[in-house]
């Protein structure tokens, strides 16, 4: 075969001539489009995003209303319930949005197609992060508006504090989501339950509904290793004492960056192990 024929074959191929090893926003966009097509093709998927956060908000909202009638310390403690459940949903739904998008690839047995495409892990992870925010927004925006109407709780009124809370919670949710995606790559759908339940260990440990001071000292040490603890403490300080604790937010951010870096290393290690063990060929098992 002549060099001219090889060159002609290459020139006829349909790909772009830019550096194929560079990060591509086009590929990130392709993956976001893929998940968006899926989401809009199924109303039960959209309904599911809104249903449970709404149920939770109403349950805790009515409990807060009931406890508020007694006055005193219980009422003060209870006045953070709606805020707590909504911030918890940012954490939980953020991770779930990330993990479910990843699971969709395993359910549809499409993972091998993606892994042999030019899609790189940072692009894949970026798309999952964007989808986590999209799914979270679909669920949380209506719920936050209902909280204003029914309970007079305006999450948006927290302003800059909400931005700090959101940033820290979403970073933690992504760190956990990246770690779980790695587990799924290595162990397939055998690790699926982790995607649904791993975050729940954060529910008691990060003191969503009560202050860290109620924990035994040894458990409080563990609690302060987790960024959401700083957010929930910060939320209580804001709602009960009207003080924004920027120091807590800065500490949470520093731990989050560490967690994200560790999660990415874990993901890449799981990916290498999956390639060694041939798990990418048997993704659904």
């Amino acid at each position: 075969m002549t060099t001219a024929r090889i060159r002609a074959a290459h020139e006829r191929s349909a790909h772009i001539g830019h550096d194929p090893s560079a990060f591509s926003f086009e590929r990130v966009g392709a993956m976001v489009a893929r998940y968006w097509y899926l989401l809009r093709s199924s109303w039960p998927r959209v309904f599911d995003l809104i249903y449970w956060p709404t149920v939770q908000m109403f349950m805790w909202g009515f409990l807060q209303t009931y406890i508020g009638q007694f006055g005193g310390l219980p009422a003060r403690a209870g006045q953070t319930f709606i805020g707590a459940v909504m911030l918890w949903d940012i954490l939980f739904r953020g991770q779930l949005g990330f993990s479910i998008s990843f699971l969709e690839e395993m359910y549809s047995r499409n993972l091998a197609n993606l892994m042999i495409s030019p899609l790189k892990p940072p692009e894949f992870i970026s798309a999952l992060m964007i989808m986590s925010i999209i799914r979270l927004s679909i669920g949380m925006v209506p719920v936050s508006l209902l909280a204003i109407v029914f309970f007079g709780f305006n999450l948006w009124g927290l302003g800059l504090a909400l931005a700090a809370f959101f940033l820290n919670l979403i970073l933690t949710s992504w760190a956990l989501g990246i770690f779980i995606a790695g587990l799924l790559l290595r162990h397939g759908l055998g690790a699926e339950n982790m995607a649904w339940t791993l975050m729940f260990i954060f529910l008691p440990l990060t003191c969503v509904y009560y202050p860290v001071s109620v924990l035994p000292p040894w458990l409080a040490v563990i609690s302060w290793m987790l960024p959401p603890t700083y957010v929930f403490e910060g939320m209580r300080a804001l709602l009960t004492a009207h003080v924004f604790r920027a120091d807590l937010m800065a500490q949470a951010f520093a731990i989050n960056i560490t967690l994200i870096v560790l999660a990415i290393f874990a993901f890449l290690a799981f990916l290498r192990a999956a390639r060694r063990h041939g798990s990418l060929l048997q993704g659904s098992e």
Binding site: M1, H10, A14, I16, E26, R109, M115, P118, R272, R275
Partner: protein, 253 residues
């Protein structure tokens, strides 16, 4: 950039799993523009070999080079120039054919996606199906969609794992004809793992026969038939699979 290196070069490739050895040190090279068949029974190492060539499975030892690049070290220099099709790897069922092809066109950086999808749909008789959910299609239609995905980037190297498995003879023949045309027109290289001897005999310039992870023979279909004294590749395959290969060759000598 256009080096005379083979399209695919595999040397001393080994893959060991805790349960045993899937590929036990194979070496071969595939010239650009050729169609090569990987033949072997279940567990012979065909799929593992293709998966290592694609970078989906890491070899225990040995090397793979594709279009002059080391796989997996330089995977992102070459993945956009190759593609893969297998009935065992599916595409999202709820997405329409057009949406699926659009996503993969973007992943592969295809220029003028709409025109490319329209052209492929025309070639593969998918135009009427473009706006139907992929999961609602028949097995034959899904295979054609998978083939469109595999050709979306006009790959120079195409890897196929049993591309016509579970298809009726008419559809299978149609797919083979299309693959023949594609490789001839584009001067693409194709590596095909198959259990279908007629398919291999018809399509392949050369056949690599695997058994328990090693290459037991490697030649053109015509030379293999002559060497084993057989009239078709199925008989050659049975000789090799049942351990009669050496005796058959000896009888011809």
């Amino acid at each position: 950039m256009f080096s005379p290196e083979p399209a695919i070069s595999v040397s001393n490739l080994v893959k060991q799993y805790p349960g045993g050895t899937a590929v036990a040190g194979i070496t071969f090279a595939i010239e650009r523009g050729s169609i090569i068949g990987l033949l072997g029974g279940n567990g012979a190492g065909k799929t593992t070999t293709i998966a290592m060539i694609m970078g989906l499975v890491a070899p225990t030892s040995g090397a793979v080079r594709i279009l002059g690049h080391d796989m997996p070290r330089e995977r992102y220099q070459i993945l956009h120039r190759m593609n893969f099709e297998s009935p065992y790897v599916e595409m999202p069922h709820r997405l329409t054919v057009r949406q699926n092809l659009n996503v993969f066109a973007r992943l592969y950086g295809v220029v003028d996606r709409d025109a490319r999808i329209a052209a492929l749909a025309e070639e593969l008789d998918l135009t009427e199906l473009l706006d139907r959910p992929t999961g609602k299609l028949s097995a034959g239609q899904k295979t054609r969609v998978s083939l469109a995905k595999a050709l979306i980037n006009a790959p120079e190297v195409l890897l196929l794992d049993e591309p016509t498995a579970s298809l009726d003879p008419d559809t299978a023949d149609w797919v083979r004809t299309h693959l023949e045309h594609y490789t001839a027109e584009r001067h693409a290289t194709m590596l095909l793992a198959s259990h279908n001897m007629n398919e291999v005999e018809r399509l392949c310039d050369r056949v690599i026969m695997l058994k328990r992870g090693v290459i037991v023979d490697d030649d053109t279909p015509a030379r293999l038939l002559a060497r084993y004294g057989r009239s078709n590749l199925e008989e050659v395959f049975l000789d090799v699979a049942r351990g009669r290969g050496e005796a058959a060759r000896e009888a011809v000598r």
